[in-house]
Structure formats: structure tokens, C-alpha cells
């Protein structure tokens, strides 16, 4: 292999400063005596210069005013609102849109209900001496065997999927989560109710 063929693959690395000191010195000695390799090195150099000049020229022509602002606006849009703010907006929107819904759903939701937390305080048909039945948890698939008697005293909140209300006795607060598909079969999320 001729010295040129041997060293040609090193020219790029020489140009890019990626050779060891020893290898660099070897290439420099060869370049001093080889116009062909020197010309090749010049072509490598010229190409880089051309690219840089063309792109610098392009960058000078571009109007970057507003660029950073647009990025920051995008950042703000993507940033989630604080939880409190989100809850307020969600409740407001849901009540506004679905206010009639809870009136209908309250009756229809009895078939699929999940009672949480304060079940023992909910009044049941309890005979003296009998223990209160254990809490019955129903998921959307099967209703509880015996639905509790619950009298809604005050509606705190009613939405598409849940209701919060207090019952007439014992200051109990009940949270109902119900399955929209059972409430409105054939309707899907997003349908107008």
C-alpha cells in the first residue's frame, strides 16, 4: 500500500483534530511531501467552510424575533394548571353541562353503585339484636343483593360519573360512583345527555 493510501483515511481525523500527537506528526510529515494528499485535505476543509458560510448566511436571513416567545407560550400551554384550579374548572363545566343529568341519574344509578367509607352509618333495616350487615360493595357488574335505603338530604355535587350527597341521618356523606353505560346504555362518553 502506498503511503497515500495508507494515510488517506487519516486525513479526515487529522482535519478534525482527532489524531494522537504521534499520528498527527506522521500525517504532517507526509503532507509536507505530498501535494495530492494536501489537495484532498484542502477539499475537506473547503467543504466544511462552505457549509458553515451557507448556514450562517441562512441564519442571518431568518427572523428570530418572537421565536423565544412562541416557545414560552407553548411551554405555558403545556403546563398543567394547579390542582385546585383544574378542579374548579372541571366542576364548573360539569355542573353547567350536566345539571339535568343528575336528576335523571340519581334514580337510575341505584342498579350500579359503589359506596365508600361511611357505609356503617347508612341506615339499614336492622332488627334489634341483629348486627348490621357487612358493607356491600358493588362494582358496575352486579348490583348489591339488597340495596340500602338511602334518603338524600342534600346534594353536594353531581357529575357525569359521581355524586356526593348527605343522607338524612347521622350526618353521613355518601360518594356514589356509577357506570355511565348502565345509566345510559348505548351512550358513550362525550355524547350529549
Amino acid at each position: 500500500m502506498s503511503p497515500c493510501e495508507d494515510l488517506r483515511p487519516l486525513l479526515d481525523r487529522f482535519h478534525d483534530g482527532e489524531l494522537s500527537r504521534r499520528a498527527r506528526a506522521r500525517v504532517e510529515r507526509h503532507l509536507a511531501a505530498c501535494p495530492a494528499c494536501m489537495a484532498e485535505l484542502s477539499r475537506i476543509s473547503a467543504l466544511g467552510r462552505e457549509l458553515r458560510e451557507a448556514l450562517e448566511s441562512e441564519c442571518r436571513e431568518v427572523d428570530f424575533s418572537g421565536f423565544t416567545e412562541r416557545v414560552m407560550q407553548g411551554v405555558s400551554r403545556e403546563r398543567p394548571l394547579p390542582f385546585g384550579e383544574r378542579l374548579r374548572l372541571w366542576l364548573g363545566e360539569t355542573l353547567r353541562v350536566y345539571r339535568p343529568v343528575w336528576l335523571v341519574s340519581a334514580a337510575a344509578a341505584a342498579a350500579a353503585v359503589l359506596l365508600i367509607a361511611l357505609w356503617p352509618a347508612v341506615p339499614t333495616n336492622e332488627l334489634p339484636g341483629e348486627k348490621a350487615p357487612p358493607p356491600t360493595v358493588a362494582n358496575g357488574d352486579s348490583p348489591p343483593a339488597e340495596a340500602p335505603q338511602v334518603i338524600i338530604d342534600r346534594m353536594e355535587y353531581a357529575g357525569e360519573r359521581s355524586m356526593i350527597f348527605s343522607v338524612s341521618r347521622n350526618n353521613t356523606t355518601v360518594i356514589w360512583l356509577y357506570d355511565m353505560n348502565r345509566v345510559h346504555p348505548g351512550k358513550s362518553e362525550g355524547d350529549e345527555l
Binding site: I44, L55, S57, E78
Partner: protein, 218 residues
């Protein structure tokens, strides 16, 4: 710069918008240069540049700080441009023809950038020719070859840095760069021949920058 970048990243992670704004200001031109070099369309390059910063902000929490910020940023930009090119099926909207050089100036269109035309038509023509040459040279390359050429020649990254940005071996960087330069030179020579222009004599090469941190055995 690396330490400064990391400090800004940490502040931005904590919700300091001003810190993130500083990062954008610091890198917007460089990001655009890569994006434009890859896709060669101004509007697309601007969109991609913005998207790159939004993505950076979205994933700030995932940046570990094991590599430099700009390595991560450039990787995002290169990947976005490659995604774009693949989606477009290489049907790029080339920016460098007479039509594309029209731009609206106060509602009126002009064939060449009006400010430079009236001030220095020669400069405008030179810019146009330079742009056409760039287009020819870059356009002849695959995305992989474009990426290494731009990162090396425009951003001045070392082979090690490029390997980290592109997530390839250093040997692959060297190989791609070698071929990218050869293909680009052939494309340039062909372009000059087609225009009947002489292929310029090689000038004295620039001094190669000796990078103290990238010395490798040979």
C-alpha cells in the same frame, strides 16, 4: 458553558421560566442551523426548532445530566428532522430556488430578498448561489450522512460527542463522516460542472482545531 447549562436546567425543572428562556436564547440559532441543514426549508426548520425546545421542556425531568445539555438537545433536533424527512418521503420543500426566495415585504412580493437587492444585488446573488450549492451538496446525502456532516462542520462536535448525540459507535461516526464528505464533494463537483463553472483549485487547508479532549490512538 456545560455547568451554566446544567444550572439553568435545574432551575427550569423547578419551574423557573426565565432559566428556560435563557436556554432557548442560547441555543436557538444553533438548533435552527442543524434543523435547516437537515430539512432545507425555513418554515419547517423553524417549526422543528420550536418543537425541539418544547420537547426539551416536556422531558426536563428525564435529563440526568450525565451528558451535556446540548448533546441531548441536538439529539432531539436531529431525531425530529429525521422523522420529518421520513414522513415526507424525502419530498422536501426545497428553499433554494427563485420561487422560494420570494418573500413578502410589507405586503409586496419580490423575487429576491428586497433589502439585499436594493442594497447589494451582488451579495444577494452570491447568497443565492451559495444556497443553491448547499442545497445540492446536502441534498445528495442521506439523513445519516447529513447529520454527521452538520454536527461536525457546523457545530464542531468531536467524534465522541457525535457518537453520544446520534447514539452510534465512534467508529460509525468516522465511517459516516468519511463517506459524507466524499459524496458531498462529488455532488459539488457535479453541480459546478453542470453550471459550466470550473472546479476551484484547493486552497491552503485551515488549521485543524486540536481538541485536547478528543485525542485518539491511530
Amino acid at each position: 458553558m456545560d455547568t451554566d447549562d446544567l444550572k439553568l436546567v435545574r432551575r427550569a425543572r423547578r419551574g423557573d421560566d426565565e432559566a428556560f428562556r435563557m436556554l432557548v436564547e442560547r441555543y436557538k440559532h444553533r438548533v435552527y442551523a442543524i434543523a435547516f441543514g437537515m430539512v432545507r426549508n425555513r418554515d419547517t426548520a423553524l417549526d422543528i426548532s420550536q418543537e425541539a425546545f418544547l420537547k426539551v421542556h416536556r422531558y426536563l425531568d428525564t435529563f440526568q445530566g450525565n451528558s451535556s445539555f446540548y448533546t441531548w438537545l441536538y439529539r432531539l433536533v436531529v431525531n425530529l428532522t429525521i422523522d420529518h424527512l421520513r414522513k415526507e418521503g424525502r419530498h422536501e420543500n426545497l428553499d433554494y430556488d427563485d420561487t422560494a426566495l420570494r418573500r413578502e415585504a410589507d405586503g409586496a412580493e419580490a423575487e429576491i430578498v428586497p433589502s439585499t437587492l436594493h442594497q447589494n444585488p451582488q451579495k444577494a446573488l452570491e447568497r443565492k448561489e451559495m444556497a443553491e450549492r448547499l442545497n445540492k451538496v446536502i441534498g445528495s446525502l442521506s439523513e445519516k450522512h447529513r447529520a454527521v456532516l452538520l454536527l461536525r462542520e457546523v457545530e464542531g462536535l468531536s467524534y465522541e460527542e457525535m457518537a453520544r448525540v446520534l447514539r452510534i459507535h465512534k467508529g460509525t461516526v468516522m465511517s459516516r463522516l468519511f463517506h459524507a464528505r466524499r459524496y458531498a464533494q462529488l455532488a459539488l463537483q457535479q453541480y459546478l460542472r453542470e453550471r459550466g463553472e470550473p472546479i476551484p483549485e484547493p486552497k491552503e487547508p485551515e488549521e485543524a482545531a486540536v481538541r485536547a479532549d478528543s485525542v485518539s490512538g491511530a
